[in-house]
């Protein structure tokens, strides 16, 4: 049995010819543009459930912002781009705890540029935290948007589908970056965001096949070919 020797080793991948670095938090760093990409933060998902009667622990926003701070501290990007569904619903802005709101605003201020891409959960991200809002954008050979578009050209990077993968022989499904080398779906970044198997039709249809998965383990990210994935 192999030792878990890849600790702290950083994986660098290539996406439509652009070098990218996936991070344990679920963020993707693009060194060429000093840009950090995150998808599906789903801030205030816990309180959305609480409002509808299920009193889930109220710490998800805190945890998600903490993760975000960790990724930013690691890469020190000039630009942070949130690929939509950053806020779980339109009421999130009202429910967010003051301390969490302050922390988020401070994070936004800490980088030169912050872009909120519009998502289906948050067509109009709240303005009070700063940053600019856009429907989509390009980054060299990459096109960033929330939902994958059928028949999109190579280079598309999006979120929305929350990919997760289960490796043969392992009992649990883990968050992952789904990719075929030409396009990518980022894992959901939010602490309460669920996962959808990369073998699900919704994800397969984006790639025309089951994609490979850069699986987020405890200590490292493991690129796993489609044929080793189950579930």
């Amino acid at each position: 049995m192999a030792e878990p020797a890849r600790k702290a080793e950083e994986l660098t991948g290539s996406l439509n010819g652009v070098a990218v670095v996936p991070h344990l938090t679920g963020a993707l760093y693009v060194p060429e543009f000093s840009a950090l990409l995150v998808a599906d933060l789903h801030l205030e998902k816990g309180s959305a459930y609480a409002a509808s009667g299920q009193l889930l622990p109220p710490y998800d926003t805190r945890k998600t912002i903490g993760r975000l701070a960790e990724a930013i501290a690691h890469f020190l990007p000039e630009t942070v781009i949130a690929l939509g569904d950053s806020f779980h619903d339109l009421g999130a802005d009202n429910r967010i705890h003051d301390a969490d709101a302050d922390r988020l605003a401070a994070l936004v201020r800490s980088v030169s540029e912050w872009v909120w891409i519009e998502g289906n959960h948050d067509p109009q991200p709240p303005a009070r935290f700063g940053g600019i809002t856009r429907p989509d954008m390009t980054l060299g050979g990459l096109v960033l948007r929330h939902e994958p578009v059928p028949g999109a050209a190579p280079g598309e990077v999006c979120g929305h589908l929350h990919p997760a993968a289960k490796v043969v022989g392992r009992s649990r499904r883990l968050r992952c970056f789904a990719t075929d080398g030409a396009r990518m779906i980022l894992p959901a970044f939010g602490a309460y965001a669920g996962g959808l198997s990369v073998r699900d039709e919704a994800i397969k249809s984006v790639f025309g096949r089951c994609p490979d998965a850069w699986v987020i383990g405890r200590d490292a990210i493991y690129p796993v070919p489609a044929k080793r994935l189950v579930g």
Binding site: E3, P4, A51, L56, P57, Y59, S171, R172, R228
Partner: protein
């Protein structure tokens, strides 16, 4: 106290049948007359059910005389663990009721009872209502239940030994505590054939006060000792495995000679396998059927009806047929594989020969060499009448949270009153007020340290101090989620019909099992070999396969751990050659060889062997404490070995042994330190926190306590979504609110449940200072079975990360062009 008198019409009825009332039946009438709760322990076939009901029937004989226009008042509530048992008992009860000429209203109420009938029952309660613990919990959470139970006189709990040690038992005990408020006159009777902890159950049954209180214990006469034979196969007895294939010819012969056999197995996969194998041999075309919990309900009902009609020769079944339902005239019980506990064996034996004057007959068919020892131990225990059963434990906090929410949903209730009520239930007698208050907060607003959900409270407290549901929707949703049975996530299995859509349903299978299949894989289910085609519309689609050997090993059902008591007896047999004569030669040779090459485990020590094999170093120990406890031990040992830089890489456990392997020789490790009890401290905490078992336990607590709702009005959450979010909630809660009451609840559950920490702790204490290690040149005979499990078992914990690295290597080699 004067002798209880059986009313004339009752003695006449006994006489008309050529019987007379048994002493224990009269004692039950006596206990009722004295206003006492009573625990009746009597063997199957000893008139136990009638003993439970006689006091009610005598009372009701006067009521019935008032005629059909008498008011509708519930007199007796009967609760059993199985819907089917309630139906069966209702049917059997009708015989004396009709023959004595009592005009009684006897009805059942289960999850299957239509809404219209439920409503009618609420408006016009029957004299006797037969139901389940979940239905009682539902009453507790409904408005006006107090009035429904106002006239209740008796509560009868059947198969009490099966309910009490479980979360369902906690729920029932809380429900009865509520009934004690609503109907203070109601007395309780508990019925069982196999009670190991009589004092514990007698306490469980009766309301508690400042000092422990106990129900009166009434004992029935014992029947003749059962005849138990152990199949000593002429074939080669396997080292490991649970298939019992080698003995199947002899089992078939036994079936052929019996009138009707019940063939008990321990897991559903064994049931499937045994059924297949028997049909392979079935040249006589004997009517052999299959019965287990995953089969479609209609299919099970068909088998039950055929049994009752005497149309079957044998039924292969799991514990679904353990409890007291009698479908036919069974004259032989065959246990495939070891029975795991003497109480379980006696329970299963009770399914044959329901006549007190004839002994029941059983044939035990051990599946491997070790199981021969287990079967011998079980036979001796039954001969001596020693029972082992599940131990009672403190009530679970998640169940209490559910009950507390339910009470507030039913009617406004004051915290002080509710605290007094729940602590009268024996499992919660030691609950502190602080824990209770903590749970009340949890039920109301989640009980989080970050106090942010005040506006989303589910329960509110009014000015007079009454707790109630915030609105009708909260109460309705609570009632939809009542109960403590968390089914494994199941997918229906359907034959692929025309146009690729799902056709006939074959039953349900665990979702995780389906998830590991690729289209084209074959597996055994519902007595057939099936080919997996894919998942569509949330069902697994399959076709029938001609493949003679299924590719994927059958899925596991529940595995019972070897009982502590039987484990002790096994150790005693194993160490003492004078006791081996009862074992087959092959098993004796195996033990003799172990004595020669290594050492026999002694009753109170722990044998540890170390040896090299194929460039790896192995450590095998023999605690005999069951698979669950061994897995926990394996987890903790590998952490320690890791710290000692002995580089462990994996482990595997079976019922009596644990094997750990690694890259360095472990022979020189300080074994006393390695197996020291203190591993249950920090190591355990650190491991548990990350353990998938802990997450699974937490998920159950989250569902039972109502934090996560399974069913919402209008739509059901798919179980997959629940799984994922429960893990996320666990991680977040552990990081930000580590003292939260639900984490405490989960930790307590894990320690007694999936991880069997309690048992491991007792074992480590027992062997302290008695660890006997021996360094060998090669694998010992006793180690062979557990070594054979390597590769067959899933790996755990740390090794999972290695699997990822391993899988990643594949991509590398593919990239290099050699994949």
């Amino acid at each position: 106290m004067s002798a209880p008198i059986l009313p004339d019409r009752f003695s006449q009825w006994f006489a008309s049948r050529g019987w007379q009332a048994r002493p224990h039946q009269l004692d039950m009438i006596g206990a009722a007359g004295a206003g006492e709760d009573a625990l009746l322990i009597a063997p199957t076939g000893g008139g136990k059910t009638l003993g439970g009901f006689l006091p009610s029937l005598i009372d009701l004989a006067d009521v019935a005389a008032e005629g059909p226009k008498r008011p509708y008042r519930l007199h007796t509530l009967y609760i059993s663990p199985l819907k089917a048992l309630s139906v069966d008992v209702a049917r059997n009860l009708m015989i004396p009721v009709e023959e004595i000429g009592l005009d009684l209203r006897i009805e059942t109420r289960t999850g299957d009872t239509p809404v219209s009938k439920r409503q009618r029952q609420r408006d016009k309660p029957p004299d006797i209502l037969l139901t389940t613990p979940e239905q009682l919990a539902l009453f507790c959470a409904s408005p006006n239940a107090r009035a429904f139970f106002a006239d209740l006189k008796r509560i009868i709990v059947d198969e009490i030994h099966a309910l009490a040690p479980q979360k369902r038992g906690d729920l029932l005990s809380l429900g009865m505590a509520t009934l004690a408020q609503w109907a203070p006159e109601a007395r309780r009777a508990g019925l069982s054939a196999t009670v190991s902890d009589e004092g514990g159950l007698a306490r469980w049954l009766t309301p508690q006060g400042d000092a422990p209180r106990f129900a009166r214990i009434v004992r029935g006469m014992e029947g003749p000792k059962p005849q138990i034979n152990i199949l000593s196969s002429r074939e080669r007895i396997p080292w490991s495995g649970h298939s019992g294939r080698h003995a199947m010819g002899e089992v078939y012969e036994a079936i052929r000679q019996a009138r009707l056999s019940l063939i008990f197995v321990n897991t559903r996969s064994q049931a499937e396998h045994t059924f297949q194998e028997l049909w392979r041999l079935n040249d006589d075309g004997l009517a052999i059927a299959l019965h287990h919990g995953s089969l479609a309900v209609e299919q099970r009902r068909k088998v039950e009806a055929a049994m009752a009609a005497g149309k079957l020769k044998a039924v292969v079944c799991t514990s679904t047929l353990d409890l007291g339902i009698d479908w036919g005239d069974v004259d032989l019980v065959i246990q495939m594989g070891a029975p795991k506990g003497s109480a379980r064996l006696i329970q299963r034996l009770g399914r044959s020969n329901h006549r007190l004057d004839e002994p029941s007959r059983a044939l035990l068919a051990p599946a491997n060499r070790f199981e021969h020892l287990e079967c011998e131990a079980a036979r001796a225990a039954v001969a001596e009448g020693v029972l082992d059963g599940e131990p009672l434990r403190a009530g679970a906090l998640d169940v209490l949270a559910q009950h507390m929410t339910g009470r507030a949903c039913g009617e406004p209730v004051k915290a002080d009153d509710l605290f007094a009520e729940v602590t009268a239930a024996a499992p919660y007698a030691a609950l502190t007020r602080a824990e209770f208050d903590n749970l009340m907060q949890f039920c109301s607003n989640g009980g989080y340290a970050l106090d942010s959900y005040e506006r989303f409270r589910r329960l509110i407290c009014d000015r007079e101090g009454f707790w109630k549901a915030r609105n009708a929707r909260v109460a309705q949703r609570h009632r939809m989620n009542v109960g403590t049975i968390i089914e494994a996530e199941m997918l229906p299995v359907r034959l692929k019909g025309r146009g690729g859509r799902g056709g006939r349903s074959l039953g349900e299978v665990e979702e995780w099992f389906i998830e590991q299949l690729a289209p084209g894989d074959t597996f055994v289910f519902a007595g057939e070999i099936l080919e997996f085609q894919g998942i569509a519309e949330n069902a697994a689609l399959v076709t029938r396969s001609a493949d003679p050997e299924p590719k994927v090993p059958a899925y596991q059902g529940g595995k019972f751990p070897l009982s502590t008591y039987l484990a002790k007896r096994v150790r005693e047999i194993a160490h003492d050659p004078a006791q081996w004569h009862v074992l087959p030669d092959q098993v004796q040779d195996w033990l003799r060889l172990q004595k020669e090459k290594s050492r026999l485990p002694q009753p109170d020590d722990l044998l540890v062997e170390t040896f090299p094999k194929h460039g790896k170093f192995y450590l095998v120990c023999y605690p005999f404490e069951g698979r669950l406890a061994h897995q926990s031990l394996g987890m903790l040992l590998t952490r320690r070995l890791e710290r000692l830089r002995l580089r462990p890489t994996g482990f595997v456990a079976n019922e009596y042994a644990l094997a750990v392997w690694g890259l360095r020789n472990m022979a020189d490790a300080d074994m006393d330190a390695l197996f020291s009890e203190d591993m249950l401290g920090d190591d355990l905490d650190a491991w548990l926190a990350e353990s998938p078992l802990m997450k699974r336990t937490f998920k159950q607590c989250a569902i039972i306590s109502g934090l996560i709702e399974r069913r919402l009005p209008g739509h059901e959450k798919t179980s997959r979504q629940v799984t994922f979010s429960a893990d996320l909630i666990y991680d977040v809660l552990r990081e930000h609110d580590p003292d939260h009451i639900l984490l405490q609840a989960a930790w307590r559950d894990a320690a007694t449940g999936l991880l069997d920490i309690r048992r491991l702790g007792e074992a480590l204490k027992r062997v302290k200072g008695h660890i006997h290690s021996i360094d060998l040149e090669r694998v010992s005979p006793l180690a062979v079975p557990v070594m054979l499990e390597i590769g067959r078992e899933a790996v755990y914990g740390e090794a999972q990360e290695s699997i990822l690295a391993d899988a990643a290597e594949d991509l590398v080699s593919e990239m290099m062009g050699d994949g």
